[in-house]
Amino acid sequence: MEEPLLSVRDLKKYFTVRKSLFSKSKDQVFAVDGISLEIGKGETLGLVGESGCGKTTAAKAIIRAVEPTGGKVIFQGRNIFKFNKREMRKLRMKIQLVYQDPYSSLNPRMKIGTMIAEPVKVHKIASGHEVIERVSFILNKVGLPSEAMNSYPHEFSGGQRQRIGIARSLILNPDLIILDEPVSALDVSVQAQVINLLGDLQREFNLSYIVIAHDLSLLKHICDRVNVMYLGKIVEGGSNKDLFSSPQHPYTMGLLSATPIPDPRTMRKRIILEGDLPSPMSPPPGCRFHTRCPIKKRECEQIEPELTDIGGGHWVACHRVDGN
């Protein structure tokens, strides 16, 4: 069996915050509290969850854009959490991050060409005319004309800016791209274009993607595997088929049920989860989901369920699921 490209083991990221403006006593935010996942070459893995689940923090911790509190990330056989600065720099050519907001993630004072050329110059991959050629090549790949390199971000639409962000991540020929909400800031009629572009690029360059999103409809369309996060933990993970056809965790079922379907004749039964999302500063004891769970039992309030393999690479953390 082929080695996974990236393997995340028990990743933790806690933030320490002051209790209030003038207080010295501190609180901990358990943003990511022990998650593990794997992704292979050419695969697309989805990470889904709502506010405070830790998916964005997890993405940043994986590439050490924030320093993790614990765990390890194995990339091409080596634990990247042990890399020094020089090794991390080289690693960043291979793992890239595309940000959520195409309106704020591009420096408004930099020309597009300069922006995309920057990684090439920083890593000393090429110089002079070759840099311009590479920038031109990559702009065309994302469906933009070469002339775009002389323009500023404000001259482009949201969809185009997102393409520029993707171009910037591609220029160093990475193996893995982490995309944080790649289309949620875009108009509906433009989302499909960007989704298709990502698929084309993946096929052409054999890229792996970790896609973070809150929209399950999007993930159903593009992911090979999906992991569902809740309050810093993965509660369910499985293949696209398993997760969407036979979800096991009550939170996954609640999420699927809550996703609106553009069909007025749809006859599904709605599961409306009660209550609000608890704060990641004080996650509930036992199973973190129990405060909103429609099928909780006594032990759910006290004992945290383990993520268990229920067959075929389908993992669930729930006391009420057979196989536990």
């Binding site: 506010s51 639409s157 989302q191 553009p262 007025p264």
Partner: protein
């Protein structure tokens, strides 16, 4: 209570924005009507004019740079665009209310939520604060807020997004308006909270008989909530029909395009299959295409589409479409 028919009738509304960059015809000839107790969805993307339509109904358009330059909005036998602002103030809250997209920013952070809801009741119903408190607590209970007597004294920062939106709804419905305009009421909320809020809105609609104008780009939300749909693009209405007709018998290429391209959770797809696309981008409002505004992106565009704008025509019972080819 006498139910009027229709409750609201908008005729050829035109709201433009004037600046050094030129004139932006944000709403350019929009007409539709709303029946008592009905939910109508206004669907559109950025620049479609859907939010400006909602704001125009309540005459909340900032002037400058905006101006309602034409049209009529009939409510209760009166053209709202011609009444005095003092009467408009009476209509807001009491008869027509609005909730906005970002509950984080639509509430005043410096005042308690009780204070803010009471203010609405006091202003529009002319009562004193102590008389408004009981009504306020009733409203908080109605929108599902636990321990309302305590919450009355809390500040917005102490509440989650879902709860703040419930407060907005409480404020909007506190004076029992005939119409609620909801502008992207759940877009900023998590999907499980969105489901709660939509369910709440439906429940309150049933109990209070309020008509809702639901403004959103999310077709799934429209399918769930609306009985009729108005599809807008670049300031124009392109199609109007019952929800069922829009989703099952749409005629306009834009509507059809939108329905084809959205990823859906209820459909099986081959992994890696490409989504159909609507080519091109939404044009700048200052540089509108001539003729039919959608023609640069339309697969069926012909010469006449580039030259002349089609009219909004009734193509079957209560189904209108603005296209040369239906």
């Amino acid at each position: 209570m006498k139910t009027e028919h229709p409750l609201l009738r908008i005729n050829n509304l035109r709201t433009y924005f004037f600046s050094y960059a030129g004139v932006s015809k944000a709403v350019d000839g929009v007409s539709f009507s709303l029946e008592s107790g009905e939910t109508i969805g206004i669907a559109g993307e950025s620049g479609s004019g859907k939010t400006v339509t909602g704001l125009s109904i309540l005459r909340l358009i900032p002037d400058p740079p905006g101006k309602i330059v034409g049209g009529e909005i009939f409510f209760g036998g009166v053209d709202l665009l011609k009444v005095r602002l003092t009467m408009m103030r009476n209509i807001r809250g009491n008869n027509i209310s609005m909730i906005f997209q970002e509950p984080m920013t639509s509430l005043n952070p410096a005042f308690t939520i009780g204070n803010q809801i009471s203010e609405v009741i006091m202003l529009h119903q002319g009562v004193h604060r102590k008389d408004s408190i009981e009504k306020c607590i009733d409203m908080l209970k109605l929108v599902g807020i636990q321990s309302p007597e305590k919450r009355y004294y809390e500040y917005p920062y102490q509440l989650s997004g879902g709860m703040r939106q419930r407060i907005m709804i409480a404020m909007a419905l506190s004076c029992n308006p005939r119409i609620l305009i909801a502008d992207e009421p759940t877009t900023a909320l998590d999907v499980t909270i969105q489901a709660q809020i939509l369910e709440l809105m439906n429940k309150l609609k049933e109990e209070m008989g309020t008509a809702i104008i639901l403004i959103t780009h999310n077709l799934g939300v429209i399918a769930e909530m609306a009985k009729r749909v108005v599809v807008m693009y670049l300031g124009k209405v392109l199609e109007v029909a019952s929800t069922d007709d829009i989703f099952y018998h749409s005629e306009h290429p834009y509507t059809k395009g939108l329905l084809r391209i959205i990823p859906r959770i209820d459909r099986e797809i081959q992994p890696g299959k490409r989504l159909p696309e609507i080519p091109g981008m939404i044009p700048n409002l200052y540089k509108l295409p001539k003729g039919c505004h959608f023609h640069p992106r339309c697969s069926r565009a012909k010469e006449i589409c580039r030259r002349e704008e089609p009219e909004l025509k009734e193509i079957s019972y209560q189904h209108l479409c603005r296209c040369w080819f239906v």
